[in-house]
């Protein structure tokens, strides 16, 4: 038996197929993964993401600490509530984890890290925090529900008191704010608009069921994966890990080399890598029938740094009705590639993610 979120019994009652995910018993789907996927693209769906790890960092040196710990620069955060996506790196530049950090106050930042990396993340953060005036507290008592889709914000706002609803609907993308004991952020992992809502565990099931009454469809990890891949978002452990640095993981945009005088863990390695990196993470669209999957070999032409890459995440895209993937390949100017699927070579094309945003295809699938 694995770890259970405060919503576990609710999932079982609502017909979830439960699977092990990094030690947690989580819903894979509630009947049809594809229907759940479409509900998020077309209306509103909800995911239990309580397994993710919420960490509060407080103290007089918290900003200084995070500017050292993270590859992105919390110094860019000027307004309370603003969120920042970042990698946390090893000195080698390898990615320990990707995370979101919220600027709560001058002396308080809230971080959300992956469930599967919780132990090593907390150990790493605590070890480096020793040199700073910073306190690290995991907020295990908070559940988290992601409500996503074009109608998600309107439906989720109903959870709040009437006098809070206007304020929550005014949250700008990538901002969060406390509402009593709750914390609501306009963030997500689907390529749709929506909220991620942190709720005291004891209130989670009631909130979930009220969302259900509003017509928000429960969605499992299966739909979460196809949605994030269509949105071109990386999954830790698949598309990046400690063996690869952000520049070859499609995450150069999350590394703040400026200002030059900010020292952060992994900086030197990334500056070296800027000069030599011959690989990059790209999107793939399969031209043939079939399904791209992780670890399939990708053959590229026209590159000076080798001719073999690998699919890091692949799936069937329910929105495009085609198979799509992220793959790490030698840099090339030629978009036509071949993928080895069970011993046969199939034609695929390098495309620029995201594949889908806000319900619309962003790549040419003809």
């Amino acid at each position: 038996m694995g770890l259970k979120t405060p919503l576990y019994d609710t999932h079982v009652l609502q017909g979830a197929k439960i699977v092990d995910f990094g030690g947690w018993d989580m819903p894979l789907h509630y009947g049809s993964q594809i229907e759940e996927h479409h509900a998020v693209r077309r209306d509103a769906g909800m995911f239990d993401v309580s397994h993710m790890c919420i960490v509060d960092l407080t103290g007089g040196q918290v900003r200084e600490f995070l500017r050292f710990l993270l590859a992105n620069d919390v110094g860019r955060l000027k307004t309370f509530g603003k969120a920042l996506y970042s990698c946390m790196l090893l000195p080698s530049g390898g990615v320990i984890d990707d995370l979101i950090v919220y600027y709560m106050s001058e002396t308080w930042y809230r971080m959300v890290v992956n469930a599967g990396t919780r132990d090593k993340d907390l150990a790493w953060i605590r070890r480096h925090a020793l040199d700073f005036d910073v306190t690290v507290v995991e907020r295990k008592e908070l559940a988290m529900v992601a409500v996503q889709g074009p109608d998600a914000r309107r439906k989720a706002a109903m959870l709040l008191k009437p006098e809070q609803q206007a304020a929550v609907l005014e949250l700008k993308p990538f901002f969060g704010a406390p509402f009593g004991a709750w914390f609501v952020a306009r963030t997500g992992y689907t390529g749709e608009d929506g909220f991620e809502i942190m709720i005291p565990a004891a209130e989670a099931a009631a909130a979930w069921n009220r969302l259900l009454e509003q017509g928000v469809k429960p969605a499992g990890l299966g739909a979460r994966d196809t949605l994030r891949l269509e949105a071109g978002m990386n999954l830790y452990g698949n598309d990046m890990d400690e063996n690869f640095h952000p520049l070859e993981s499609g995450l150069a945009w999350t590394v703040a080399f400026e200002p030059n005088d900010r020292d952060f863990i992994g900086r030197e390695a990334l500056i070296r890598a800027q000069r030599e990196s011959g690989r990059e993470l790209v999107g793939l669209l399969l031209e043939d029938r079939g399904v791209l999957r992780g670890h399939q070999k990708v053959l590229v032409a026209g590159s000076v740094s080798g001719n073999t890459g690998e699919v890091t995440s692949g799936t069937f895209s329910p929105t495009l009705n085609r198979s799509i993937a992220l793959a790490r390949v030698p840099k090339t100017s030629q978009p036509a590639v071949q993928v080895d699927i069970r011993g046969k070579l199939h034609a695929a094309r390098i495309v620029k993610p995201p594949f889908v945003r806000h319900g619309k295809a962003l790549i040419d699938i003809s």
């Binding site: 894979l28 299966g222 079939g290 399904v291 799936t315 069937f316």
Partner: protein, 136 residues
């Protein structure tokens, strides 16, 4: 979990079913598909690869692939024989396999070599017991 197990079919431990002479299939021909249990465990199917007509199969040979959003699974031929038909409709509508695994979702038809009896395959009741044991 879906668990429809028609009494008139034979079953394998790898969750294929076999039907003798059905519908337009001539006598002596065996129709093969995957069970309701299998389609339910796989989830929404998005791609099906069926064996080419004319291909000779040995018993237990991996000969078709069914892929759901989450994974690809091999389908094994329950018996030796030659493929005489395959279900082309699945190319455009793989969901037929979820909706009607024992009917419109059939995979291929075999002309069994020699005596086409299905010895070694399980009856419906034996398959039901097998599933019950497997889930314990």
């Amino acid at each position: 979990m879906s668990n429809n197990i028609p009494a008139d079919l034979k079953y394998t431990k790898s969750h294929e079913w076999v039907r003798q002479a059905h519908g337009e299939a001539p006598n002596g021909t065996l129709e093969v598909g995957i069970t309701d249990h299998a389609q339910s465990a796989l989830g929404d199917l998005v791609f099906v690869e069926v064996p080419d007509v004319g291909r000779s199969l040995s018993a237990g040979e991996a000969c078709a692939v069914v892929e759901s959003v989450k994974a690809a699974s091999d389908v094994y031929s329950p018996l030796a024989g030659k493929v005489v038909a395959n279900n082309g409709a699945l190319a455009g509508k793989p969901e037929l396999l979820n909706e009607d695994p024992y009917g419109a979702g059939w995979l291929f038809r075999l002309e069994a070599g020699g005596a086409s009896n299905a010895e070694g395959l399980m009856s419906a009741s034996a398959y039901a017991s097998f599933l019950a044991e497997e889930s314990e």
